[in-house]
């Protein structure tokens, strides 16, 4: 091999060396996973369900995701993929058949009760303009699929005003009854609410002040409360009996469900977060679990909640029996267990002190300081145990400051600032411009992509999306150093809201705990709610409200025709 080849060889090895895993730790991790799988193998039904249903819905927590998802054969998956459309078609056919039967019955009964030439004329009118109205409705619904519910509502409001004039003229001519108009409006509101139920939740990319679920709630409640006829009025119509409809009950239930979910998402409750902190007795994902716990625990401590760390303390003691994992220890220290580590007899302090001394010597010789967690816990321990000399402190501060200037990534910057704080060398005024520039380079503004953005990425990488943990760190930096110019706080706020929202009320916070805490931390930095912002960001909500009111007015405008119906 030529010299240049060897050089390239060496450089590749140098570059990839940090990615090498600890062979023993990896083996131990695999053995633990094998043990977990052998002790509790997933049920066969669970495996099948996991192929197509989200794991959280099949109660698969605790099972290895891969084992669940990869177990079904190709044929099983194919069968499931085919069966879903088949089931949908079956349901649609059933609904169509029932609807046709219902319409036939209604027409028959209407024919028996009264022959209404106006109705025939109206039917003829709609038949004549079917294509135009179809195009109009498609044009209304299409923008929804591109995320612009406001545009849809504008169109619908314009059309509703037009409809209102038409209804009034038709009512005067005796063509439109209140039942007819009310029914059209009810169905229209329902069909408008349907896609919004799925599209205006936390996936909405436009920032909002209130949960977008209120939009379908307003439309659904509007449909449910449509003032068609009172019980008294219905009672005088031959063959008409007042009856609560199942559809209205379902719509009402779903509106309540969405509303409660929206309230649940908008309400920050520290109790569940504290419960997560205090009940941490198993690090399922090892250091990653500890990292998340550290975020929550440090927040709880900073907020003055004084969590009971008995269980995490016991877990740490068990972890220490298996050796010192630097990532775990650094997180445990951030989470408030520094004293437990420093006083732990399970740690071989002679060996750790020797390693720390060697590290400090290398710093004093001019090496760049480590930004890795491996040395960070040793730094914290050394500070706590008073093992840092004046000279080494000066060297560490000097080299850490130099390292901050070298454009570190998010986690590294936070860790370097932590190190300066520990060493007493932090100078916020000096670091602020760097931090601001760093935040700007890590911010991922909302764009035309499908997912909600507006948070921060772990590194300034092209194509990288926002990450909740990186955003939490960025929020911590912004709380200390201020929000730099160029960062849209509305987008950050909405990103955190969308990431911390659940699709069901009072859901488990395990997956959304970090963004929830970040959202609470960001609250003082969020832009204030002004009337202008409210009108701008919630224009869809007001549009929906206006639409419902217009529908009500249109329905009530046909009152004179009801009188005629009742007389007949």
């Amino acid at each position: 091999m030529s010299e240049s080849n060897e050089t390239v060889d060496r450089e590749i090895r140098d570059a990839l060396r940090p990615h090498q895993v600890d062979a023993d730790a990896f083996m131990a991790s695999v053995e633990a996973k094998v043990k977990a799988l052998e002790v509790a193998p997933p049920e066969e039904g669970l495996k099948r369900a996991a192929a197509v249903v989200p794991l959280s819905l099949v109660g698969a927590a605790g099972h290895a995701t891969g084992v669940l998802k990869s177990s079904p054969s190709v044929w099983h998956k194919l069968l499931v993929f085919i069966s879903w459309p088949a089931a949908s078609v079956f349901v649609l056919l059933g609904v169509a058949a029932l609807s046709a039967r219902s319409m036939r019955n209604d027409r028959a009964s209407a024919g028996e009760q009264s022959s209404n030439p106006g109705y025939d004329e109206l039917t003829a009118w709609w038949g004549k303009h079917r294509l135009a109205s179809g195009i109009f409705w498609v044009a209304c619904l299409l923008p929804m699929f591109f995320g612009s519910s406001f545009f849809v509502l504008c169109l619908l409001n314009v059309s509703a005003v037009g409809l209102l004039f038409m209804i009034r003229s038709m009512s005067k001519a005796g063509h439109a009854t209140r039942i007819m108009i009310g029914s059209y409006c009810t169905v229209g509101l329902f069909y408008l609410a349907m896609p919004l139920m799925f599209m205006s939740g936390p996936i909405s990319r436009e920032p909002h002040i209130v949960d977008p679920r209120w939009l379908p709630v307003i439309l659904l409640l509007g449909a449910v409360g449509m003032p068609t006829l009172s019980r008294k009025q219905l009672a005088v119509i031959p063959g008409r009996r007042p009856r609560p409809t199942l559809l209205k009950l379902l719509l009402l239930s779903y509106a309540v469900f969405l509303g409660v979910t929206a309230i649940s998402n908008a309400t920050f409750r520290p109790a569940p977060i504290l419960a997560l902190v205090e009940s941490f007795d198993k690090a399922v994902h090892k250091s990653a679990s500890w990292q998340r716990w550290a975020v929550l625990s440090s927040w709880a401590i900073d907020a003055g909640y004084q969590p009971d760390l008995t269980l995490p303390r016991q877990l740490l003691a068990r972890e220490l029996e298996n050796g010192t994992d630097p990532y775990t220890l650094a997180s445990a220290m951030r989470g408030g267990l520094t004293a437990d580590i420093v006083n732990s007899p399970a740690i071989d302090w002679d060996a750790e002190d020797a390693e720390w001394d060697k590290y400090v010597e290398s710093i004093e010789r001019g090496r760049a300081p480590s930004s890795g967690e491996q040395k960070h816990w040793l730094l914290r321990a050394a500070v706590e145990r008073g093992r840092i000399t004046k000279a080494s402190r000066a060297a560490l501060i000097r080299k850490t400051r130099e390292r901050i200037q070298s454009d570190p990534v998010m986690a590294e910057l936070v860790q370097l600032i932590e190190a300066l704080d520990l060493l007493g060398g932090a100078d916020d005024a000096e670091v602020r411009p760097l931090v601001h520039e760093h935040l700007r380079s890590h911010w991922v503004p909302e764009d035309s992509r499908i997912l909600v953005d507006g948070g921060f990425s772990p590194g300034p990488y092209p194509g990288a999306g926002s990450d909740p943990v990186a955003t939490y760190r960025a929020v911590a930096l912004m709380k200390r150093f201020g929000v730099p110019e160029g960062i849209d706080r509305e987008q950050v706020e909405w990103y955190l809201y969308s990431k911390s929202a659940s699709s069901i009320p009072f859901a488990s916070l395990v997956d959304v705990s970090v963004p929830r805490v970040a959202k609470a931390s960001f609250a003082p930095l969020a832009p204030p709610v002004t009337l202008g912002r409210l009108l701008t960001l919630e224009r869809s909500l007001f549009g929906a409200l206006i639409l419902v009111l217009l529908c009500y007015y249109a329905t009530l405008s046909a009152a004179s025709a009801v009188g005629r119906d009742s007389q007949e």
Binding site: R17, F26, L37
Partner: protein, 190 residues
Amino acid sequence: MELQKLVETYRAPLIGLIASWGCPVSEATEIAGDAFSEAYVSRGSMRGDPSDAHAVAGWLRGIARNLYRNWARSRHRRARVLSLETVDGVVDAVAESDEPGDEFARAAEVRRAIERLPKTLRQVVLMHYLEETSVRNVAALLDVPEKTVEGRLYRARQRLRTALDPPRSHESPTTASPFVPPRAEGSDRV
């Protein structure tokens, strides 16, 4: 199928392979761990001879691919580009090596050059160089002949040499970082 042997043989190339599909190395490590455990637990349903290295490697690769797809779906990753530094833990590890600033920057430059390699070349570089895995094991995991792997490594080195800063490429090997681990005994020279 002995678990320890399986892990020792394919740990590094499997992590490299998964990373080359477009996932951060730390995530690739997790996925590889899941793949080993699942392969071992489900070894009874493996088709083929368990003593055949290619059969075992193919079985492992299939499981890893399924797990990776699940990961990609669950993370809604649209831009499946290789990012060696995306995850905080990895970044920490990168910076952990006590490298002086220029060496740190140089390593980052090499990693960026690796990221820019075509997929097939990047794949073998990650699989082979991560822990000096033998060409034979890399070939088994990719289910290609050893000569193919050697050829790809050769082309990858050529491209990297061209991409990297020429003055640095003339450095003597004797200036190698003392932190570079020694070449594993018995590993194939390429």
